[in-house]
């Protein structure tokens, strides 16, 4: 009897193999769940990996130089760079209207006057490609942002007028280092050679020009670390108002922007994998139920519980391995199309490379989840009694008493939490997420139990045979009610939630082009031009919606503390943030609030007498963030003139309205004599009207700039539709997995009903009767499952909208109805496809082949 203790692995593997030969199709369904789940995981992780690598390896190209310095002051000076051998390029940039003589159109752009060989790493990408070089050949040539050229229908060779100078368009600008999506929206870039900047006569005293310098260190000393140097000198730089950026900083920034994208992708991969897990659990559950009789026979012949358990564990493990392997393979292929899907949103060119960590991780995850999620149904194999051979399968009602099962459930819970944590990155969220999944299972189990009880309790004995038979199928022994409701329900819930969230995200970025919102902003108007411009506007039958003065200023001190004081104060606690000092303030003055504002603290008052300091108002959040309290003294530097004020109130501002909103607000009677410009806001009916008006404005007042919100929205719309495409494409992964889970659960369930259908057929049931019974049963199951799933998804979407996206979730009835109809009809269709084999073949053939 001692040979018993040794496990004969060879035999176990042989049995596992033999047994699988005739179960291939069923095992394949199980495998396919794993394939898609792992494919999504590997594709997304490989892509993220490659993207991260590429950001690292192309970090220099991201900045284009070793160091970038910038300031509002053209004479800024950072001593360190002079001690190092370097090359330098200069870029002076400012917003200005440009004019296209070809079609008499104008547009606000960001003019970048460049001198030097920048970028030193990477390239300014242009079309034609060599325009990047030839525009620097000393002629009057310009590179114009691609989207602008398309919008205004201008081509390479046409000319563009900037100020007083006409430039020949040498090429269209596709991308350059230091170009953000947001900035290009309002003011797309136009590059010109720096030496023609003065000729444009656009730069006058008070013009808002930003001066950048790009350095390349040609011979850095041994061990020279620019990051460390910059960190050391950060206070000096701050006081002088010089901003700096190094390759390392740019790399981190780019990585951070990418993190949000990665989070979303990870979530998609996670949901796909989770659906795969649900598929595994339900497939194995049904599979094992089918195998129980074989297990009992093996037990009769003397196989131990452990051996039989191992046979199926080996089988599932091997199938899991095959699925994971194929999934990893598929994922690696899918990865190659992801860079095309994301296209221009990617900061760097993503290379397609095998990511071994992702592939290996996917393989291991796949095998691990196949086994983990198969274990719960598998362990019942250990307890299968040999008595089944004599008496048939008894209702398994002490399944929950098995301690090991509970251990496995805890293991699954832990796995979901840990995996969610790895993918989402927040422990709290992961726990909430996992608890919700657990709750969903509980809810679905309850729905299944309750509906079975309900049907039994109120059984419609007077209904026709077909109805009674199909209803009774829901609760009779060997019913599929619980498994199918759980898997289809959870699948529906995940798919629908993803759909709702996707719709929510898309609607959140969609901008309502409301009809009476202002959509044209004219700014940089000189005081003496205000009246004339208002007249011009009215002569075009356009409303003057707002006309506000803007004064630029800086903060000299707050409660007597200057920027130097703040920077040198090292006590962390009362350290003021330096940002209010560093900002160039654009404030307006008036004595009342506008529509988009609300007082939060204090009140708006006019000074009662000359001695009293005027009271200004700041945006509430900004004041809080920078620890500026009501009553604090703020001294402003209004272009050389100090003006003392106190903080009288704070306001909440609705920034989403297209209006001139101001962080800082002065009372009237203080700034009237200060140098200022004015902003006028109007609304045009359409693009043509806007273009016509703009042309007239720019012709008469060359110093004035116009922002056409409609134009921006057009561009934005373009980008957003691309984003929603990306979201939809990625969500497709999860939806596919969900459908597959649904299909495989239903296909597998057929083995439960086949014997019965054949017996009915033998007793003379017609094709139609069997079809009706089966489709009704699947109709009940599909309906119950999809409705419960929808309820869960409504709950989940509401929670996600409220807690994660800070918005309210308003469910659309149409998608709900569509989901219900499609899930239910898919269930019925597959169910019917299952029974087709039964009714079209002679009963005997079916009996011999299927019932064993």
């Amino acid at each position: 009897m001692d040979s018993q203790s040794k496990t004969d692995w060879k035999w176990l593997f042989k049995m596992a193999w033999r047994d699988s030969r005739r179960s291939k199709s069923r095992l394949f369904l199980f495998i396919s769940s794993i394939i898609i789940g792992i494919a999504a995981l590997v594709a997304i992780n490989s892509f993220s990996d490659n993207l991260k690598d590429d950001i690292n390896s192309q970090a220099k190209e991201l900045l284009g130089a070793d160091l970038e310095l910038g300031s509002n002051d053209s004479t800024f000076n950072y001593g360190l760079v002079d001690t190092l051998a370097h090359e330098v390029s200069y870029e002076n940039s400012f917003a200005s209207m440009v004019f296209f003589p070809k079609n008499q159109e104008s547009r606000l752009v960001d003019v970048r006057a460049l001198e030097g060989d920048f970028p030193y790493y990477g390239k300014i990408e242009t079309e034609p490609a060599n325009a990047e070089a030839t525009f620097r050949d000393g002629e009057r040539k310009a590179l114009v942002d691609q989207s602008v050229m398309i919008q205004f229908d201008v081509e390479v060779g046409d000319s563009i007028r900037i100020g007083l100078v006409n430039f020949k368009i040498e090429g269209s600008l596709i991308s350059s280092p230091s170009q953000s999506l947001g900035a290009t929206l309002v003011a797309p870039a136009v590059y010109i050679p720096l030496k023609y900047l003065d000729d444009t006569e656009l730069i006058q005293k008070g013009s808002r020009v930003y001066y950048r310098r790009f350095y390349k260190f040609t011979d850095p000393p041994e061990g020279f670390d620019i990051e460390a140097q910059i960190r050391e000198d950060s206070d000096t730089l701050r006081i002088q108002d010089i901003s700096s950026e190094t390759i390392e900083e740019r790399k981190e920034e780019t990585g951070e922007t990418f993190d949000d994208l990665a989070d979303f992708l990870n979530l998609v991969a996670f949901v796909a994998l989770l659906l795969g897990c649900v598929g595994v659990a339900s497939a194995v559950h049904i599979y094992i139920k089918d195998k129980i009789r074989s297990v009992a026979i093996l037990r009769c012949l003397g196989a131990s519980g452990k051996d039989t358990f191992l046979i199926y564990l080996i089988q599932i493990g091997a199938a899991g391995f095959i699925g994971s392997f194929l999934g990893a393979l598929a994922g690696t292929f899918i990865q190659t199309i992801l860079p095309k899907v994301f296209g221009e949103f990617l900061p760097v060119e993503v290379n397609i490379a095998l990511s071994w960590p992702s592939i290996l991780g996917g393989l291991l995850t796949g095998i691990f989840v196949s086994i983990l999620f198969a274990l719960a149904p598998l362990v019942s194999v250990r307890k299968a009694s040999p008595l089944i051979t004599l008496r048939g399968i008894e209702a398994d009602n002490n399944a929950l008493k098995d301690k090991l099962k509970w251990l496995i459930y805890v293991g699954i819970l832990l796995f979901v939490i840990v995996f969610a944590f790895i993918q989402i990155g927040s422990l709290g969220d992961s726990v909430v997420f996992t608890l919700f999944i657990a709750f969903s299972f509980g809810f679905l189990a309850l729905v299944a139990r309750f509906s079975m009880w309900l049907v039994k309790r109120f059984f419609p004995a007077s209904w026709s045979y077909i109805w009674r038979q199909s209803l009774a199928n829901l609760y009779r022994p060997n019913n599929q009610t619980s498994v199918l409701i759980a898997s289809i329900g959870l699948g529906t819930a995940l798919i629908t939630t993803l759909y709702f969230i996707q719709a929510l995200l898309i609607s959140q970025v969609e901008i309502t082009t409301d009809n009476d919102r202002p959509n044209l902003m004219v700014f940089d108007i000189q005081s003496h031009q205000v009246e004339e411009l208002a007249e011009l506007t009215k002569s075009y039958d356009l409303p003057v919606l707002q006309q506000v003065p803007v004064v630029t200023m800086r903060i000299e001190s707050i409660n007597g503390l200057t920027l130097e004081d703040v920077v040198s104060d090292t006590t962390e606690d009362n350290r003021r943030r330096s940002s209010p000092y560093r900002r160039e303030w654009r404030v307006t003055y008036r004595d009342s609030l506008i529509e988009s504002e609300k007082i939060v603290r204090g009140e708006i008052t006019k000074p009662n007498n000359i001695d009293e300091l005027p009271q200004v108002s700041l945006e509430d959040e900004y004041a809080k963030r920078n620890k500026i309290e009501i009553g604090d003294t703020i001294v402003w530097n209004v272009q050389g003139v100090p003006i003392s004020t106190t903080l009288g109130s704070t306001r909440e501002i609705d920034w989403e309205r297209v209006q001139t909103n101001f962080l800082g607000l002065f009372p009237s009677g203080v700034l009237e004599q200060a140098p200022q410009f004015h902003v006028l806001i109007t609304r045009v009916k359409d693009v043509e009207e806007g273009a016509l008006f703009q042309r007239e404005v720019v012709k008469n007042y060359p110093n004035v700039s116009v922002i056409d919100v409609g134009l921006i929205l057009n561009t934005l719309d373009n980008i957003l539709s691309k984003i929603s495409f990306v979201i939809r494409f990625m969500a497709l992964f999860s939806i596919l997995t969900g459908l597959l889970v649904l299909v495989s659960s239903v296909i597998l369930s057929k083995f439960q009903r086949i014997k019965e259908s054949v017996l009915l057929r033998t007793m003379g049931a017609s094709k139609r009767q069997i079809f009706s019974i089966n489709s009704l049963e699947y109709f009940f199951l599909g309906s119950l499952a999809s409705l419960s799933g929808i309820i869960l998804s409504l709950l989940a979407s509401w929670g996600l909208a409220y807690f994660t996206f800070n918005s309210t979730f308003v469910p659309d009835l149409l998608p709900i109805v569509l989901v219900y109809i499609s899930i239910t009809s898919i269930t019925i269709l597959i169910g019917l496809a299952n029974s087709r084999g039964i009714v079209s073949k002679p009963p005997l053939e079916v009996l011999r082949s299927e019932i064993q």
């Binding site: 040794k6 035999w11 033999r18 005739r22 074989s294 003397g302 196989a303 004599l390 064993q852």
Partner: protein, 231 residues
């Protein structure tokens, strides 16, 4: 010679809800090695239940079963499985072949479970013995009921059991096939000295065994030697 099977004061009670249903009560008997015993009785009298208890497929409510000197009641499920594998063969009324294994593989399983080597030849011998050698790579669904029963008998003998239990082995078969199967059982019993315990409705078959136990309502109402067959 010690008894191969000793059953004493065996009872089995099923609890369904609050009601207790006694299916077997106070059953005692014993068999010597090499004997042939048949159990007869009307439907529902407890024959299958008794057979299952003797083979260690189920646990009794009280009383004991000693098989080949081992007290089954004190063993756990795996230990009983081991006893079955080493000493017991079982032929079911409804064959119970493993559907995913070929005829040959079905016969090999008990030997493989014991870790025996060179079993293929023996399995082929057994197959030939039941007249199905050329069907060795067929799956159960490709065989008729009688053929499946023959495979199942070959399987039952494959581990050279000391005792073989057969629950209505010919219940499903026509007379001609039944006779074939019966003689197969008896031949193997004679050649290998296997003790035979048969459940049957067939009086003719019962007469061919050494001893007949008659059950009624879960009790033994007679336990008699079969004079006719004593040779």
């Amino acid at each position: 010679m010690p008894n191969i099977l000793e059953v004493s004061q065996l009872s089995k009670t099923y609890q369904s809800g609050t009601k207790a249903l006694t299916v077997l009560s106070d059953i005692s008997f014993s068999i010597e090695p090499g004997d042939k015993l048949s159990i007869v009785g009307s439907s529902g009298s407890g024959k299958t239940t008794l057979l299952g208890l003797c083979a260690g497929l189920d646990r009794a409510s009280s009383g004991s079963v000693i098989l080949n000197g081992t007290k089954l009641d004190s063993l756990n499920e795996d230990e009983r499985a081991r006893v079955r594998n080493l000493h017991v063969g079982f032929v079911f009324q409804n064959f119970q072949l493993l559907p995913t294994l070929t005829a040959l593989e079905n016969i090999m399983v008990p030997m493989e479970l014991r870790g025996e080597k060179g079993i293929k030849d023996r399995a082929m011998d057994l197959l030939a013995r039941v007249g199905l050698a050329e069907r060795h790579d067929h799956y159960p669904t490709q065989l008729s009921g009688g053929e499946q029963q023959r495979i199942s008998i070959a399987r039952a003998f494959s581990n050279r059991p000391k005792i073989l239990f057969a629950d209505e082995p010919t219940g499903n078969l026509d007379e001609e096939t039944s006779v074939k199967i019966e003689s197969l059982l008896f031949d193997l019993n004679r050649e290998l000295g296997t003790t035979l315990v048969l459940v049957t409705h067939d009086n003719e078959l019962a007469k061919k065994t050494d001893r007949v136990i008659q059950l009624k309502g879960g009790r033994i109402i007679s336990n008699s030697l079969n004079q006719a067959l004593e040779v």
